[in-house]
């Protein structure tokens, strides 16, 4: 497993991925942070969406508003990164070389997954740092008082938001990895993943009132935003943990048993 982890880290150190995947994380968090602050108005907002007031931004959780709104998009990027990393082994044919060097397939899969998790955490932390830095930089120009951001409540909000964001994005990534193993191509995995998360689930929730409590994409979004009044954070986390276990076991069994014939 250590070999698989180290080899995946070597693979992840390529410029294209760092600029593409890492750049996308930074771009979306920066975009949401800048737009959130620049669009802040003197009038009170409704507490949701992008239109927040200067007063709301001056609250302890004002620092992480941009970051938490970027959650679903960061999740989609993470899905793409994981799907590309797992699916490329099939489309390039490299999997046959890799599995000769590491025939213990579950260990191979685990090492690769952990390396991607490390990459994802580092990328999200970097995105978080950029978001926080931009927020402090832009806040004075809009008259936002940042003193509450550094209070213990503010720091606690920052920590929990980052934590929820990371777990949510890794959940999206796990889904991308599983789809790539199932379809054996990154393109199909990304298309199916996005179609399910952005289209199918939203349609289902129109007809299934309790859908947000069970649909994985809805739950991951809920996790990123720290829970909601309709589905608590604890219930969201527990349901997702069960889904995660099912996906990991199912993917491992499929990957272990399937012939590598291409």
């Amino acid at each position: 497993m250590i070999g698989a982890f180290l080899s995946e880290l070597l693979k992840l150190r390529r410029r294209g991925l760092l600029l593409g995947g890492g750049g996308a994380f930074l771009f979306f968090t920066a975009l949401f942070t800048i737009l959130g602050i620049e669009n802040a108005s003197k009038n009170p907002g409704n507490g949701h969406g992008f239109h927040v007031s200067v007063a709301e931004l001056s609250q302890p959780n004002g620092l992480v508003r941009g970051l938490s709104h970027a959650g679903p998009l960061l999740g989609i990027v993470m899905l793409g990164v994981f799907a590309a990393a797992f699916g490329a082994e099939y489309t390039t044919g490299a999997l046959r070389n890799l599995l000769v060097r590491e025939p213990r397939r579950v260990q191979f899969l685990a090492g690769k997954y952990i390396a991607l998790v490390v990459f994802g955490v580092v990328a999200l932390l970097a995105a978080g740092i950029v978001s926080v830095g931009l927020a402090f930089l832009l806040a004075p120009s809009k008259g936002v008082d940042t003193s509450a951001w550094t209070s213990s409540t503010g720091l606690s909000d920052l920590w929990s938001t980052m934590w929820h964001l990371v777990l949510s994005a890794l959940g999206f990534g796990t889904l991308g990895a599983a789809l790539a193993v199932i379809f054996r191509t990154p393109v199909a995995a990304i298309v199916v993943g996005i179609a399910w998360l952005l289209a199918a689930e939203n349609i289902l929730t129109l007809f299934w009132s309790n859908g947000s409590s069970w649909l994985p994409g809805q739950l991951l979004e809920n996790l990123a935003s720290g829970g909601s009044s309709s589905v608590s954070l604890v219930r969201t986390a527990l349901t997702l943990a069960v889904y995660w276990a099912i996906v990991v076991v199912g993917t491992s069994v499929l990957f272990s048993r399937r012939d590598v014939a291409s």
């Binding site: 250590i2 070999g3 698989a4 180290l6 080899s7 070597l10 693979k11 390529r14 294209g16 490329a88 390039t92 044919g93 490299a94 999997l95 046959r96 070389n97 890799l98 599995l99 000769v100 060097r101 590491e102 025939p103 213990r104 191979f108 048993r257 012939d259 590598v260 014939a261």
Partner: protein
């Protein structure tokens, strides 16, 4: 370090054995109950027409494809436990497959890290296969021959005891083919076992000591190439000085107990190579002067076609013909 496999029963002088090895897809047997015995320390050629089941067999030996039936052992360990022997096996299966956006060196480093092999071997191997100054180039910018060389370097990464190569000279220029041939011979001389699949029968005949022929998933032959070729009947070809003597020359062959046919300006008689001087003598006794007398030895190609009944256009071969001065 692998631990001894208590289920192993392979003779110590054999690198690969299989018993009834079978792979079915649906009702179709791609590999059909093959019993292989490949000795250690030799270069064994693995030949068969397209779709014969060569690559599937190699994939089963490498743990990539699960057999439908049968058993096998590689380097003394059951193929049901590939982790026990693959650290001592190098392979190049089908086309070299690497990450196109990464350099040749980085691709090898990834494999070395995965197999926990010595990273220092990467540059040594790049030099050994002639990519020393191109290791930093992206794989997608390599020519087919360079890709093939990188594939061979990857196969040599673990300092293997067994090398499994599928069409290793594909895309190489004549100088490259000669280098690979020399490299394989050098490795075999050092005690390494090489199992090499190829369509180039002439190439196989040149570099291999041992041969495995499969067709339609079934084993047609395994053994030494010399043994196979010596079992082939040669053909004596005689060209009389005067075309009018063709018929009489054919009759001489027939009277000596060899069937003969006239083709253009020559008489062709399937016969042992040693009979050529006798034919020369008999022709002289009948007053026939031979302009040329040649022996076409049985080639690997002839043997291959006899065993597989394959379309000749699918295979390239180098015929071996020696001429005996008349």
């Amino acid at each position: 370090m692998s631990t001894p496999d208590h289920t192993a029963s392979q003779a110590p002088d054999l690198a690969v054995t299989t018993t009834g090895l079978t792979k079915r897809y649906g009702h179709r047997a791609v590999v059909d109950s093959i019993d292989l015995e490949i000795p250690r320390g030799i270069i064994s050629g693995f030949v068969g027409p397209n779709g014969a089941g060569k690559t599937t067999t190699l994939r089963m030996l490498l743990g990539l494809v699960r057999p439908s039936a049968g058993t096998g052992e590689v380097l003394g360990h059951s193929i049901a436990h590939p982790a026990r022997y693959l650290s001592r096996v190098g392979s190049l299966i089908e086309a070299p497959a690497f990450y196109p956006g990464l350099s040749g060196r980085r691709n090898l480093e990834i494999l070395a890290a995965l197999g926990r092999h010595d990273m220092h071997r990467v540059d040594i191997l790049l030099g050994q296969v002639g990519l020393g100054d191109r290791g930093g180039d992206r794989f997608k910018n390599y020519s087919l021959g360079m890709k093939q060389r990188l594939g061979i370097a990857a196969a040599l990464l673990p300092s293997p005891d067994l090398l499994v190569l599928d069409e290793p000279t594909n895309g190489l220029d004549p100088a490259g083919i000669r280098e690979v041939r020399g490299l394989l011979r050098e490795l075999a001389d050092d005690g390494l076992t090489v199992l090499v699949s190829s369509h180039l029968l002439g190439e196989i005949q040149t570099i291999c000591d041992h041969l495995v022929v499969i067709d339609n998933g079934k084993l047609r032959f395994q053994g030494s190439i010399d043994g196979l070729l010596s079992a082939q009947t040669a053909e004596v070809v005689a060209v009389p000085e005067h075309a009018g003597d063709l018929q009489r020359l054919a009759e001489i062959c027939t009277q000596a107990g060899h069937t003969a046919r006239i083709d253009a300006d020559a008489v062709h008689a399937p016969a042992p190579e040693t009979w050529a001087p006798e034919l020369n003598r008999l022709a002289m006794q009948q007053g026939i002067t031979l302009a040329a007398l040649a022996v076409n030895r049985g080639t690997l190609e002839d043997a291959f076609f006899a065993m597989t009944d394959t379309d000749a256009h699918a295979i390239l071969a180098h015929p071996t013909t020696s001429e005996v001065a008349a």
